[in-house]
Amino acid sequence: MASAVASFPAPKDEPAVDADEVVSPAEALYDKCAQRPAGQIFFQRDLSNMQVAETITQLTSILQELCDRHLLKLMTLEGEPCWKLRSRSDADKLRRLTPDERLLYHHIDQVQAEGIWSKALRGRTNVTQQTLTKCLKSLESKDLVQSVMSVKFPNRKMYLLKHLKPSEDIAGGPWQSEGDFDVALIDTISGIVAQHIENETCIKVPGNWNDYEQAIAQKKAAVQGMRDMEDLAPAVKPYRPRRDPNTSRLVHRNAPQYPTAASVADWLNSKEILRGKFVREEDMEQLLEMMVLDNRLEKISGTNYRTVLTATDTKVYNGFADAPCGNCPVFDLCGDEGEISARTCVYFGQWLETESEEI
């Protein structure tokens, strides 16, 4: 509280400046700064140019006062001191902090979006674990700081100021929000990406793509002056039922440009589907690799991907998995004889449509 008290000399100054409506120079300076775009950094010359203070000394004391009241934050940029504005409500909260809390806040503030691990925080501040836990809780409850699980070090809780967006190092790439995977987003984007890769690596071939029987028949018909088509038909021996032109089959494209994580990332960014988010190559690689696990993509070489195709529609697993025992809930309990056995088995009974032994 000492510093809070110390920041109260300000009202004493007020009478020096006359008139009731006239705000204190400190307030005036704060207001002027607040008119500038949010997040702006002010150097001393910017502030003196605002012409609130008459002398450098006065400016210094005004700045001191604002800092004491947590309305300004003193920083340095390239060796030069500079200041940044805080909202009044934040300042208000800060004024009510205990010294320990303020100390921690200060350290958390310094790391900005990178966040700081609670253990490291303790190392820097030398507070006891108990105090640390208590203060961090209180800071979080006051909405001044937030904690995020680090993606890089999964067991570390990282602290950073509430209004900051955690850096990608700790919060993960575009696929995560608040430390967890954004399933809906991932589903949508992987669908779009899958379609894109399919277009790039596969070609849809209609059933009648090479309709030579038709072509021959037509030619002959033309030559023979449109004689009876029926007569001609048997002459051309169809060795296979003609393919329906309406059915089509996906096949692998011949020598395509196989997409890579980089190329897909570029494509996606250029489409601007993810508003405001930029997808780096690593992010895309993560997504594509996951889609390989999902059996939607397959890897052709170290970096190239293509769509997984199957030539048959029917899914059979294997001799074991397709048999009743392969998926039997009591497989481990089933014995050569007794209550659960092949003789009494209901699953075999259903599968074969025969009776099993009554137990």
């Binding site: 209609p206 390989v292 195709l309 697993y317």
Partner: protein
């Protein structure tokens, strides 16, 4: 195959079932003693069973004839008997073997194979006799036996085969002397014991062997008529050359352990001056020497004898030469040496052919039927030179040998394949390819916006050059596939390709594990397995990251797959106080473990199917007995009611369905067990 030699109780159960199903109860009872107790002497078997000495001897002779057991030879004070798991399990493949050989060499060769399977090891002379019986038999019957329907032929060949073993015991020394007494009677046994159930035995063989297609006399007849002895000899020679049949030598009766001891000893004598090796270098020498001897021994099994052509144009000529052995005289001195040769089916080759079939099937699913045809052609070209899927006795390689030298015999070009395939005029070589490829190959027309070729072309009219290019495109698709079905080797005019079977086999194993997990746990389970396979040991957070999912969404599947033994978990405490909350929890996937687990489950699944078949048969046993009565056979409509006929038909259906599933499970066993040696655990 040492891998199968690590028998498990469930494999023992499965094999005992198979033996019982095909060779009858007596053989199965002797077999089960060995399955339960391991290596035993005759006396010990007698103590462990309720059978008398004579019964046990009969049983052992049958088992030895079929190579279902090993024996330790006559040298030691006691002869020990031990199960040959590989061959025992092989019973389930009988039907497949016939089919595989028929696809490759036609029905006559298939018929020879199925006879060999039924007979076990067989003297060539006896096989010949089965096809061309000596004149001592009545004319009609002998013709019947030689050429016609499986049933009567089997009876005949059985007799011949067993007689043969009695005669030839000097040649292969197949049967230990202590069993001598049992031999003359074995014909009774194999032929069916003289007991009622004996009559069914041959038909039981049919059940398991004839791929669930009970009788097909129409096809078998005629096609498989062996026209001359030379034809038979040619077939046998071809099958030996291609590795389907091996010649039987004494060493094949020795168990892997005995072989090892024998050759290890020999290596010590010859490579290490008779001193038991102690130092690392000596040990290495002796080990290499042992392996070398094992390989040499094995090569001897598959060496091709030179058959002497004697221009036997017709049967009578032959009979003079071979001196009608069944007439009662001993094996005649006039018969040529190759007649005394004893041959049997080579089980290792069966796995090679099964691998071909499965690879083709896999390609068909992934890339389509024409690409599969191309691959099949490549595989079959290599097959005749591939004696086995993997070599258990290979030189301990310093580096993977694949890199430097691929044997030139194992290279295939698109031209080879195109030449072979161009005989098949019905094959549309352009199917399954990008239409742009067709344009590229033929330089005709272009591809429209709807991907239709503007200049349709009859694919059968393509030139060999064009076909070669099309084949090359299919081969490229095979190479690009993540399975890497083929690998580019070099260019010698055309690209030369080879096939890295070992790598592919590993992926096939993985593929089956994933298929099983997919059936049980859906795509999420597969995703987890793949994530762990790729990344190794992961904690929960890292697992989430790879799968891009949240922890609660994957916990369930991790638990389920752990319980089912497909993934492993591990808890590493961080503090002395081993609190679960603060411990690190890892989960990982071990391919070899998953493989063994799935193999074990599959064996169990097969046992359940066999048990169900037995149960279903039991339900209609009375009816079956009735239907097999001689007065009923052929007059079923007359003697059986409609209900009975329906029940019989239903039983047939049920049996077929179950057998089909059994054979598919066997395919899985082949993938998991036979195509690749043990994998180093991750």
């Amino acid at each position: 195959m040492s891998y199968t030699q690590r028998e498990t109780p469930i494999l023992a159960e499965l094999c005992t079932f198979l033996v019982g199903d095909v060779y009858g109860e007596l053989a199965a009872r002797v077999y089960s003693v060995l399955a339960r107790h391991g290596r035993q002497s005759l006396a010990a078997i007698a103590r462990a069973s309720y059978l008398n000495g004579r019964q046990i001897k009969y049983g052992l002779v049958i088992l030895l004839q079929q190579h279902l057991i090993f024996h330790s030879g006559n040298d030691g004070p006691l002869t020990y008997y031990e199960i040959d798991w590989e061959n025992s399990y092989g019973i389930v493949r009988f039907g497949k073997v016939t089919k595989l050989v028929e696809d490759r060499y036609g029905p006559k060769a298939a018929n020879v194979m199925s006879n060999l399977l039924a007979l076990g090891h067989t003297r060539i002379a006896d096989l010949k006799e089965a096809y061309f019986p000596p004149e001592t038999d009545s004319g009609d019957e002998s013709d019947d036996g030689a050429t016609n329907g499986a049933g009567s032929k089997r009876k005949r060949t059985n007799g011949a085969g067993v007689n043969g073993s009695a005669k030839t015991n000097g040649v292969a020394n197949g049967i230990p002397s202590e069993l001598d007494a049992a031999k003359p009677h074995t014909s009774d046994l194999v032929n069916g014991d003289g007991q009622p159930n004996g009559v069914h035995k041959p038909s039981k063989v049919d059940r398991l062997t004839h791929n669930a297609a009970p009788e097909e006399p129409g096809r078998d007849q005629g096609d498989s008529d062996m026209t001359s002895v030379d034809e038979l000899y040619n077939l046998i020679q071809r099958l030996i050359e291609h590795g389907w049949i091996r010649t039987v030598t004494e060493t094949q009766y020795l168990s892997p352990g005995d072989i090892h001891d024998m050759l290890y000893q020999e290596s010590i004598e010859q490579d290490n001056h008779g001193i038991t090796p102690t130092g690392a270098k000596d040990k290495e020498t002796v080990n290499r020497g042992t392996l070398r001897r094992k390989r040499a021994m094995r090569d001897e099994w598959s060496s091709v004898p030179t058959f002497v052509r004697r221009g036997r144009a017709n049967g009578s000529n032959k009979r003079i030469k071979t001196n009608g052995a069944a007439g009662g005289s001993a094996a005649s001195s006039a018969s040529s040496s190759d007649d005394d040769l004893v041959i049997r089916v080579n089980p290792e080759k069966i796995a090679v052919a099964m691998r071909t079939e499965q690879l083709v099937h896999l390609v068909q699913q992934r890339l389509g039927s024409v690409t599969a045809r191309v691959y099949q052609t490549m595989l079959r070209m290599l097959e005749s030179q591939t004696p086995r899927c993997w070599d258990e006795w290979s030189e301990p390689s310093d580096e993977p040998s694949a890199e430097n030298g691929v044997d030139l015999r194992f290279l295939v070009t698109a031209r080879d394949v195109a030449t072979k395939l161009s005989r098949d005029r019905d094959l549309d070589m352009l199917e399954g390819l990008d239409p742009n490829v067709a344009v590229q190959i033929t330089r005709k027309g272009h591809v429209s916006r709807t991907n239709v070729w503007t200049q349709p072309t009859d694919p059968s009219k393509l030139s060999l050059e064009e076909k070669t290019k099309a084949v090359d495109k299919h081969i490229q698709m095979l190479a690009e596939d993540p399975f890497h079905f083929v690998t580019w080797h070099s260019r010698a005019g055309f690209s030369q390709w080879h096939i890295e079977f070992g790598e592919i086999a590993k992926q096939m194993i993985q593929n089956e594990v994933e298929n099983t997990v997919a059936a049980k746990k859906g795509s999420l389970g597969v995703k987890l397995i793949r994530a762990l396979k790729k990344k190794g040991k992961l904690d929960e957070r890292a697992t989430c990251n790879v799968m891009m999912m949240s922890a609660p969404d994957i916990r369930g599947v991790v638990n389920d797959l752990t319980l089912q033994g497909f993934v492993q978990t591990q808890e590493i405490p961080k503090h002395d106080r081993r609190e679960a909350k603060t411990s690190l929890h890892f989960v990982w996937y071990d391919r070899q473990r998953a493989r063994e687990k799935l193999l074990h489950d599959t064996y169990k699944g097969m046992v359940r199917i066999l048990q169900r078949i037995a149960y279903e048969r039991e339900k209609v046993q009375f009816l079956l007995t009735k239907a097999e009565r001689s007065d009923v056979v052929g007059n079923e409509e007359k003697w059986l009611s409609k209900g009975e006929l329906d029940a019989l038909r239903k039983w047939k259906e049920v049996q077929e369905k179950l057998l089909l599933q059994l054979f598919r499970e066997d395919d899985l066993v082949a993938t998991l067990r036979d195509f690749h040696g043990p994998l180093v655990s991750a």
